[in-house]
């Protein structure tokens, strides 16, 4: 039982939960949350791929990829949340 197996399975499970949420959740905000979960799950698998049994140092290339992914994800989340805010305002206006 090494950390890479444990966290690899964790990552795949988190990705699966995020995928189900993104497809089945009704609420917009929760769908964004589900996509975030899926991205963290993918990050887990990449970080696990970079892991080497100590004392060897981990592979830095997947680490850089995950950092890039985190920044891209926060950009995408910000745009999605802005769209949600706008949509909600328009709906509230229609309801009046």
């Amino acid at each position: 039982m090494t950390p890479d197996i444990i966290y690899g399975v964790t990552g795949i499970a988190v990705f699966a939960i995020g995928l189900v949420g993104a497809l089945c959740a009704q609420d917009r905000l929760r769908r964004v949350l589900a996509l975030k979960l899926a991205s963290v799950g993918a990050g887990f698998v990449l970080v696990v791929a970079a892991w080497r049994a100590p004392p060897a140092a981990p592979d830095p290339v997947p680490h850089a990829l995950v950092i890039t992914g985190i920044v891209v994800m926060v950009s995408a989340t910000a745009v999605a949340l802005a769209l949600i805010r706008r949509l909600q305002s328009l709906e509230a206006e229609d309801a009046e």
């Binding site: 444990i6 939960i17 989340t77």
Partner: protein, 326 residues
């Protein structure tokens, strides 16, 4: 004798999966966001266990801290728009329409199949295997920095990082366009204790952000982590109303957004001008150039992330544009 670290890993993995499930099943949206923040912090802890402190820092600062702030701000806005704190707004922000059970089952079955395939691929793939370790280790002396992740981000794979900065720029442009003329939910007053706390920690955060940027050349840290910590300064200033964006500040803000992309691209072009490939820094100037790019990009990231949190472009609303006032 079981290794105590294995127990820690197992518990941490279980907690992460349970929190992920709880984020999607808990009824109250506020609770879902708070659980998501806890989930992100525990994931960061797991990545420390996997010897990835850079990624853990980025996840804790950007993926959890800033994303959590964005989510909470959005929830605040949505509850304000749908009429204070009624029951429906607490549970969901979208009007719920019944979905046929068959559709849900098909989706769930599809997700199950995808997951099974992924799990089979993961368990069947060679682990601990040769990646780019040897290539990176071989090229490290020519990179100009001592920390491998920074070398990959700003030297070997600098194109990716340039594109990443462009994505941030595109996001802030999109947010400004989407929210044009949108009215703002009044920010909650946070009181004097909070204001004192903000005054006390503001200078400390500036020092910590700059330290993270500087230390990135030889240890975990770097432009993105430092930029995110500096963006927290922007969030504190905005929340405590020590700084209120005005239409006249848009020029400076725009300059801040493009500064990182501009400097990054300019360095690439200048290096390419000397008969080299773009991003093939001359060895004697490599460290200077990388620190220059990192410094400018950090400022840009901090301003962009704070602007993403603030949302709307600070424009003087004309009469025709204020129609979205709820």
């Amino acid at each position: 004798m079981i290794d105590p670290y294995v127990i820690l890993d197992l518990l941490l993995g279980l907690a992460v999966v349970a929190l992920a499930a709880a984020v999607l099943t808990v009824r109250d949206l506020f609770a879902a966001i708070v659980l998501f923040i806890v989930f992100g912090l525990l994931s960061a802890l797991a990545w420390v266990r996997l010897a990835a402190p850079d990624v853990a820092l980025a996840e804790a600062a950007i993926g959890t801290g800033l994303t959590g702030a964005l989510l909470l701000k959005t929830l605040h806005h949505l509850r304000y728009v749908t009429g204070s704190l009624d029951r429906q707004a607490a549970l969901s922000v979208t009007p719920v329409q019944p979905v046929p059970m068959a559709v849900i089952w098909v989706n769930a079955a599809f997700c199950g199949l995808v997951t099974l395939g992924l799990a089979a691929a993961f368990l069947g793939a060679p682990r601990n295997g040769p990646g780019f370790d040897a290539l990176v280790a071989e090229a490290m002396p020519a990179s100009g920095v001592e920390h491998p992740v920074t070398a990959v981000l700003l030297n070997f794979r600098a194109y990716d990082t340039l594109m990443e900065v462009v994505v941030l720029l595109a996001a802030v442009i999109a947010v400004w366009q989407i929210e044009r003329g949108l009215s703002e939910a009044p920010a909650p007053a946070l009181g004097e204790v909070w204001a004192g706390f903000a005054r006390l920690v503001l200078p400390a955060i500036v020092v910590i952000g700059t330290y993270l940027l500087w230390v990135g050349a030889e240890a975990p840290g770097g432009a993105f982590q430092g930029g995110a910590v500096l963006a927290a300064v922007g969030l504190l200033l905005l929340l405590s109303r020590l700084y209120v964006p005005r239409p006249a500040h848009r020029g400076v803000a725009r300059l801040g957004f493009v500064l990182g992309t501009g400097a990054f691209a300019a360095v690439a072009l200048l290096v390419a001008g000397g008969g080299r490939v773009a991003f093939e820094y001359p060895l004697e100037h490599a460290k200077t150039l990388i620190l220059l790019i990192e410094g400018v990009v950090t400022i840009s990231i901090a301003i962009t992330l704070a602007a993403l949190f603030h949302g709307r472009e600070p424009v003087a609303l004309s009469a025709s544009e204020t129609r979205h006032d709820a």
